[in-house]
Symmetry: D2
Subunit: 338 residues, 4 copies
């Protein structure tokens, strides 16, 4: 693949997250947004026009040899197919999480595209705060990791209609935290134990999902991680990580709206965490995209692989089963595709 000219990129999916990615693509001088596709043709047209790109069908994009890379930001049920078709057409692929709602389908995809250039969009790894924490872990600043804790609360629950097609909290929301845990602890856990409840919105419970959950992961060597999720923090986007190692504790606190503090007779007050993922992770999306483009141009390995996407999904699958049965569920080699 040519390294001397900007890469031509096609974006598949012009919804909310597609718009976020369009911004990152256009801000990166090493590539240009050439085409946008969406099942809603008007949406593709509007987004394409905004960035001087062409609105095209997926078939046209795959058939066009001048398109170097695909960014797949369409609905989850299209991910596996598009990964397979895109790589078959010789394109480098960055696909949004999750790979699929079905672990089996994701595993089949993994087998099919083995060796092809596919990166999965776990954006949090590229947040500067989490990246700094990971660097400190790698540098051994707190010794050997022993007990990880991830807090991940959304500000407000999604519509129940979304919940019904989401695959459930563990596959839709906690999937990010499973990836963070695997990334920070260095590989997939051996066991998953989950507890979940519907406390925020009874309709979420009626739809068979949970909105509040706690999951414990155990690695083969006994190391532990705890993940807490809630669909409704009320005060904003609560995204924290804390890792106890043999020599100390590392933590990444929330990003606040500003640094102003006030003290009066009523008490001391300060700003809330930024409201949601766009405010918190815009820089992470940009860094994620840069990492993808840089790896494509250099022909080097991607920092997040399809295997990582499968591992997070296997954790989600195990957590979903554990939350139902109350039993700890082992992650088998088959579930991890290894």
């Amino acid at each position: 693949m040519s390294q001397s000219r900007p890469l031509d990129v096609a974006l598949i999916g012009a919804g909310r997250i597609g718009q976020v990615h369009a911004k990152s693509i256009s801000a990166n001088p090493s590539c240009r947004l050439a085409a946008v596709a969406d099942v809603i043709v008007d949406a593709a047209g509007k987004l394409a026009a905004q960035y001087g790109a062409a609105a095209r069908s997926v078939d046209e994009i795959l058939a066009d040899a001048s398109i170097d890379a695909l960014l797949i930001a369409s609905s989850t049920d299209t991910h596996s197919d598009l990964i397979e078709r895109g790589t078959a057409a010789g394109k480098a692929v960055l696909c949004e999480k999750p790979v699929d709602l079905s672990l089996e389908r994701a595993l089949a995809c993994q087998r099919k595209v083995a060796g092809k250039p596919v990166m999965i969009g776990f954006n949090r790894r590229f947040d500067p705060n989490f990246a700094a924490l990971k660097a400190a872990v790698e540098a051994g600043e707190v010794g050997k990791p022993e007990l990880l804790s991830i807090t991940s609360f959304d500000p407000a629950p999604p519509p129940v209609a979304y919940v019904k097609v989401s695959g459930g909290l563990f596959r839709d929301m906690m999937i990010h935290d499973f990836d963070m845990a695997c990334w920070l602890m260095g590989g997939a856990p051996a066991k998953v134990a989950a507890a979940g409840s519907s406390l925020v919105d009874p309709e979420i419970g009626a739809a068979g999902d949970v909105d509040t959950a706690a999951v414990t992961l155990t690695w083969a060597d006994g190391r532990l991680a705890v993940i807490k999720n809630s669909r409704r923090a009320g005060y904003g986007y609560d995204q924290r990580v804390e890792l106890l190692g043999s020599k100390g504790l590392l933590s990444a606190r929330n990003v606040l709206e500003n640094t102003v503090e006030k003290i009066t007779a009523d008490g001391a007050s300060s700003a809330k965490p930024v409201y949601f993922f766009l405010e918190r992770y815009m820089r992470a999306y940009e860094a994620e995209w840069s990492a993808f483009i840089d790896a494509v141009r250099a022909g080097s390995d991607f920092p997040v692989t399809l295997r990582d996407g499968v591992a997070a999904l296997a954790c989600a699958e195990a957590a979903t089963r554990s939350a139902g049965s109350g039993e700890t569920v082992a992650l088998t080699p088959e579930m991890l595709g290894s």
Copy 2:
């Protein structure tokens, strides 16, 4: 019981925690330390002399009608017996946690002394920070509690000889956190799921115990709590609580050695948490003792009951079983003595 003169108190147990209590007793103007007993007679004598009290045997103390109250700080295996004998002798009793290592024995004790004045020494409830958090919960400042998180790390593991007789991490160390969870969430949970590992000291694992653990509690109405324990934080005593409610988040941070901060080219630094329980909880022990004495003098209910001691022990029993089997364990009415 007379309310006009200071109460005469006998302290049973002159070890480390007994010495802490002797200080609290002598600092409280509503009582005086009259007698000290210990199986090591010299230890009793030395501590008694320090506070102008008499060193006496347990039998002498129980037979002495002028002793109003007992503070039981002897070894755990004596707690149930002394609670029963002390209340039978007409004395008000404050007994250190846990009630017993055996849930059955504790339940038998509970049945035997029903209606008698017994308080259990869960000192953390009296820490000013946790008390302020509890008050905010009660005032509804974050709405309905939904997801509690307790972090409780010791600075360094105890000797393995101690571990072997301790009853295990869940009964010996996490018992405090089980009580905190029951207290903050308003009653005992319905289910307990535990995971534990020996990561800190292989000898602890060889002794059949764990030194790092994560436990999830689920209440009958679906509310959740997560407790994390480690025997070795390295940097001091890490004692934090965080509660997500329907309207927001409450947290109690660590108490630091001082308020000094430094920023240089090497980074920003500040003081560590205070080192261990004496530094952190001395004020809590004093407040605990005051609450006991005030209730005895007023004839009012104790803020921590034997039932609370049993509930925490039942959680510990369930956690121990769950950590072994990998299955979630239900807390039955029988386990709670109700």
Copy 3:
């Protein structure tokens, strides 16, 4: 001036701060960078090429009726002349601080361009943290302002060659803080008392300047402000504001490099403040430029006026004299051009 098409902007000055402004101009969809001028023709050419603008002389720019606005980022000794020539040519002007090193020259400029559209580039007013603090002051959240404190430390001193032509610390560096003080307290002070020393670099002292200074401002109604400056903080860019009002205290803390914290047996550590003004104030420069463009298009008043630039310079003039004499210096109406 047309409000329906993007404004054509000429940038005068292609040095470090000019490059910062070029970025802001090009990021703003309501304007476009049409021309760049610099006494170093190659520098103008390079910067112009980067943004698709033309490199032109100042004379050409002023003669070109299609240029709507000037951003003056050339050396300080050219500011007054360019403000006068630019406004005479019918252009809206945003000029970097200070207006001039000479208060007399700045006052003459102010008289000459009275009523013309000139904004001075005090970027800190547009920092989101300081803006949030100002909004809280305006909302009366801490009552009536009484005692303001501004801490403003650079990470490292500039070269002595720069110091020699800078006009001195009070005109070159503290000018920002004088503007912040006038802005937050609502107008210029009545009196200025300054103390300054050369502690960081003896060559700065040999050049007749100070590198460490403390200034007290007193308003006519007795309200007070204290400004502290150092040319060398070592740990980064220390930019804090603290305001005591009749009902409480507002403060704006530093912006840190990341949110990661670490605790080990050696202590707790966290990230440093971001290193210098580009890291700290890039968003402020963008917001400043947006405010300028929005006001030009709307025909509304600028948020920072030439009068504000003169007031800050008058404070700097008074501080320079006070630091020399040890006497408090009054700000006369003549010094403020009012």
Copy 4:
């Protein structure tokens, strides 16, 4: 003086601060409170009774050879006389600040008791936070001190009747901060420049005093300190120190009521600083008294001397004059008694 038995102490002054000291004296096992004197005989009697001491006149105390030490906590106008009479009677003396409202009288006292055992009660040096900051300075953790900043706000102004006899804010309140500055910077400054206003209570202004003030101190080698005082912070006792050195910044933050934090849709909130000096400095008073007793018993130098008391008073004298004239006032050797 005997080192083998507890020292017999007489407390002169049974008012608010005398009561604080009585507590410290009685808590220290190396001394006992033998006598209390007060011009209000009932007050002396009541306090003496509380601690099992005798209420006696000053004359009786001075004539009693069994009294080893005096703690002078009577009104300021009696300090110098009592220091002179106490030392003449062979007693070790700890005297509350200030030595006197008159610098001349304090200097005369200093000459008269030269070589005698007199310690001045600047309690803040014994605050564990400030002591930790001082230790870090001494250890060179931020290099050479360059720019000190002290913030010292009371929660609420005293009655005007008190203000009228107080000697004014500089002698009564800022005297503590002058001592802190001399202590942290290593000796008295060369110059003092002060600005003060009456913003809090017009009656304070009508009484000729200020309630809000900013003072700049300059040492002979150019190092600087800024002190800010307000009689009314509203939110509690604001007591902070910040020191910029050649290698970084040290700061001591406030002590808060508790460690609880809350985040809701309305923002994040936390506890206020503790309300006033008793809450903040009780441990400092105890440590101050211990340091005095330890030095008396060891025959070693006191950590705070009469010379220190005079230096702080000289700063207050200079500040009072500077605030009146607007001119910087030099501290002469005569003013420092050296």
